[in-house]
Symmetry: C2
C-alpha cells in the first residue's frame, strides 16, 4: 500500500520488556494504553513485541523494528536492578556508548530527595543512558525515561510502572508526536441486535475494500441468550470534528447497506 | 546459554493476531494466560508478538519465530469474516496449500446445529485450513483451531475469544505439551515491608548469578505510604512437589542473606 497513511513516518512499534510478562506473572496493560494513545493522534501501530530482560534480544528487537517504524516506544527495564537492561540494549542497538549524564543524575537526585532517599551507586545506574540520548523527566517515580532520535526513528523508553508511563506519555511523548503529525482519528459504533457476524460478513468485507483508509471492525457478543454484533468504524481527518463527522457518516452508510440487504 | 532449559524444544512463542489489539480497542489477556500456562508446565516463552490482520505480516512472524521455538501458539483470525486470515497465513508460512477438510467441516456443522444455525459459504471458510494440518475441536464456539506440526515446531492456532482459547488450551494443547516435557515449575514469594528495591538489588543480582536455573523477581509497591518489595522465586523440577520444595528452600536462603546484610 502506498498511501500516506502507510508511510514509515506514521508507523510505530511498541516493545514491552520484562521476564515477568513472559512467564505470565504480570498482565501488561501498558502496550494497550500506548497503542490507543498513538492511534488516536494519527499513528499506525504496526507491531507490539514483548521480550525478556536480555540485552541481545532487546537490541535485536529494536534494530529490527527501526527498519519499518518512525516511532518506537519501549516500556520497562529502566530501574536500578540487575535485570534492568534497556539503556544498555538501546545503546547497543544504535551503536552509541553509555554516559553517566549530569541532567539525568540531577533528575534522579531530585526525585530521591523528595522521597527522603539518598543517591547511591545502585541508583546512579538509572542516570547511565546512551550518550546520544536525553533523559525524560519522571514526575511520579525515580527512573528517568530515555529519548533517542536517529535520522529516521524516534525512540522513547519509559518505565514499566503504569502510572509513570502514562504521566510521561502525556507530558512529554505525545506532545512531541502530536506536533509532527497531520491527522487525528475518531470512532463511531452501533450495536446490532439479533445479528451474527457471519450474516453481515460479506457486506463488511465489501465496504472495507471500498474504504481502505478506515478501520471497520465487528465485535460479536451474547446478552441474555440473544446474539448481537457491535459494529465500529474508525476514520481519520485533520481535525477531531471532521474525523468524527466522517466516522458517523460512513457508519450510517454501512448500516443502510446492511439494512437494505435484508440481513437485519 | 547451553543448558537444557534453553534448548529450542522447550522454547515457545505466542502470536496475538488482530487489528483491534494494535489500535488499542481491545486489551489482550490471552497472551498473559497462555504465557502462564506454558511456563507452569515447564516451557520457556521467549517472545510474544501482536500483529495486524495481514497475511504477509502474520506469515513472516510465524516463519521467524519457527527458527528459535519448538512451540508456537497463535490467537485470533480464525472466524468467518474478511479479516480472519490466520489459516491462509499459516499455510503460506509453512508452504502448504489450503484444503476444505471434512473433519473440520463436520466440527463446524455440529457446532452450528447446536446453536440452531445453518452452514453457509461464509461459515464454510472456517473449515479451510492448511492441508498438512488438523482441526482442533472448539467446545465453546464454532471456529475449529488448527494444529500443524513440522519436524521441529508444533504450531497451535486458536480463536481469539478468551473462553474458547482457554477451553482448547486445557483440553487439547496442554495435554499434548505436558506429555512431551520433563519439567514443571513452582513459585514461592515473600513480602518485605519497609524495603526498597534498590537496597536489596545487589544481593538479588548476586543470587541470580549463582542460580541461573531459577527466576528471581522483585516487585516494588507502596501501601499506606510505606514501601514494600514482593520477592518471588520460581524453580523447576520433575515434579510439582519437588519444584515447590526448591522454590521455598531457595527463597529462605535468599531471605537469610538479605537479613544478614542489614538491608532490612
Amino acid at each position: 500500500m502506498s498511501s500516506l497513511i502507510f508511510n514509515k513516518f506514521w508507523k510505530a512499534a511498541i516493545v514491552v520488556i520484562g521476564n515477568e510478562i513472559l512467564i505470565g506473572r504480570v498482565l501488561d496493560t501498558n502496550s494497550y494504553k500506548i497503542a490507543k494513545m498513538l492511534t488516536m493522534i494519527g499513528y499506525d501501530v504496526t507491531e507490539i513485541r514483548k521480550v525478556r530482560d536480555d540485552v541481545e534480544v532487546i537490541a535485536k528487537t529494536i534494530k529490527e523494528l527501526m527498519l519499518d517504524n518512525g516511532v518506537i516506544i519501549t516500556t520497562g527495564g529502566l530501574g536500578p536492578t540487575y535485570d534492568d537492561l534497556t539503556a544498555e540494549a538501546l545503546a547497543y542497538a544504535v551503536g552509541s556508548p553509555l554516559c553517566l549524564k549530569d541532567d539525568a543524575l540531577e533528575m534522579v537526585r531530585e526525585r530521591l530527595e523528595k522521597m527522603g532517599l539518598k543517591l547511591d551507586d545502585t541508583r546512579k545506574k538509572m542516570a547511565i543512558i546512551p550518550c546520544i540520548s536525553v533523559p525524560i523527566p519522571n514526575p511520579v517515580g525515580v527512573a528517568p525515561g530515555i529519548a533517542l532520535f536517529t535520522p529516521r526513528t524516534k525512540i522513547f523508553s519509559l518505565p514499566g510502572v503504569p502510572k509513570e508511563m502514562e504521566a510521561m506519555m502525556e507530558k512529554y511523548v505525545l506532545p512531541i508526536l502530536e506536533k509532527e503529525n497531520l491527522m487525528v482519528r475518531a470512532e463511531a459504533c452501533e450495536r446490532l441486535e439479533g445479528v451474527r457476524e457471519a450474516d453481515i460478513a460479506p457486506m463488511i468485507a465489501e465496504f472495507a475494500k471500498e474504504h481502505p483508509e478506515i478501520y471497520v471492525k465487528t465485535h460479536p457478543g451474547i446478552e441474555n441468550g440473544k446474539s448481537f454484533v457491535k459494529l465500529c468504524i474508525m476514520a481519520s481527518a485533520e481535525s477531531k470534528e471532521e474525523a468524527e463527522r466522517r466516522a458517523k457518516s460512513l457508519l450510517k452508510n454501512l448500516l443502510n447497506r446492511i439494512a437494505q440487504s435484508g440481513a437485519l
